[in-house]
Symmetry: C2
Subunit: 221 residues, 2 copies
């Protein structure tokens, strides 16, 4: 859970948050050094609930021939880990309970359980939340924000912290574009306004549109 | 932002979270007493980003003849308040910055600015986040969780804290059912498994399906 309330504990909360984030950054740096030593490419996937992260991973695992592994983050259930496991890919589920994001300590514990292969592509699917995960470095190589066309064009402006943290923005579910009010060009411009360096790829994980561009990004990251 | 990290500050974080929530509950009780005194019915709308809360409010304001007012919560922008204002309804925007939820103190400040009419129906649109807002009582009369059919059937199981907090679950965007893999009966069963008391209404705020049941719920709450 989260502790910003503006109700009299503000100074205490801010001080503690700074300590928590500083400690997290230390552990993230340690994760990063470990992952680089193993030549493991870790990708942190973040989004709202239901944007299609797990579906994108299922398809990626089926279609790429690289050695891959997955760490799944959810408040409860192992539903996503079960979906990944059925592809044959090694996977570990983290349940955060009331928690709203993964942190570097959780990632390290999951890596110790998962023991991903040297040079693996390691996907970390964060808790579905377009707010809190943005602030917690995990030690990953790349940060991907997935947003689906059903969520509306204005999300980069309304949740700028998340989009500012992204190396890549995946606009998913383009197969639903005929049925929803979504302006891809405007969404690209909004992403650029909060994060000029982020790449944007529009694709459909279910129908397969433009997945080559995603695989090219993964090969280059 | 949120402060659960499991990285050595755990005890300190939990203690502070308890203090923050206790202080929030006090302020929420004060809000509740104030709202009841004014016979104002406050409805807290919570969901993932992009589930259609604002669209549901726009339509409700156009179609109901009751006196209404709206408080909009977003990390940044006044885009949602602008949409509500264009309907002619009184509205105040709260921007939480890096914050991930509304709290009782923010609501009270917004009520003081908005000055909703006696006996008004007051909608509070929370920050788009299916995790953190569940823990913060605002002093509202009713809690509504909106989930769209594009988000997938399993959300009540994966985000049980939010669904356990709901008086009503609105399953929105049923106009998109022909194009997505969503099982309404299973979703109802999942809601019942985490919250047997919650009502579930399936509707489409854009196309207008089943809005009467929403208006009936609002009249009875």
């Amino acid at each position: 859970m989260c502790a910003t309330c503006g109700c009299g504990h503000t100074h205490e909360v801010i001080t503690l948050e700074q300590k928590v984030l500083a400690k997290n950054d230390e552990l993230a740096a340690s994760n990063r050094a470990f992952l680089e030593g193993q030549e493991i490419t870790a990708i942190n996937l973040m989004s709202s609930p239901g944007s299609g992260k797990t579906t994108l991973l299922e398809r990626t695992i089926r279609e790429l021939t690289r050695t891959m592994a997955v760490i799944e983050g959810d408040q409860e259930t192992a539903l996503d880990a079960d979906r990944i496991r059925s592809t044959g890919c090694p996977v570990v589920q983290i349940n955060t309970g009331a928690g709203c994001h993964l942190d570097a300590a959780m990632l390290r514990e999951a890596i110790d359980r998962l023991q991903p292969a040297r040079r693996a592509l390691l996907f970390v699917e964060n808790v579905g939340n377009l707010v809190c995960p943005a602030l917690f470095d995990l030690g990953e190589r790349g940060r991907v924000v997935v947003v689906s066309v059903t969520e509306g064009t204005d999300k980069p402006l309304k949740y700028p912290y998340m989009f500012a943290a992204a190396d890549l923005v995946v606009v998913n579910k383009v197969d639903l574009l005929p049925y929803v009010d979504f302006d891809l060009a405007a969404c690209r411009a909004y992403v650029a306004s909060v994060n000029p360096k982020a790449e944007v790829l529009a694709l459909s994980a279910t129908r397969g549109d433009n997945l080559d561009s995603w695989y090219d990004w993964l090969a280059a990251v």
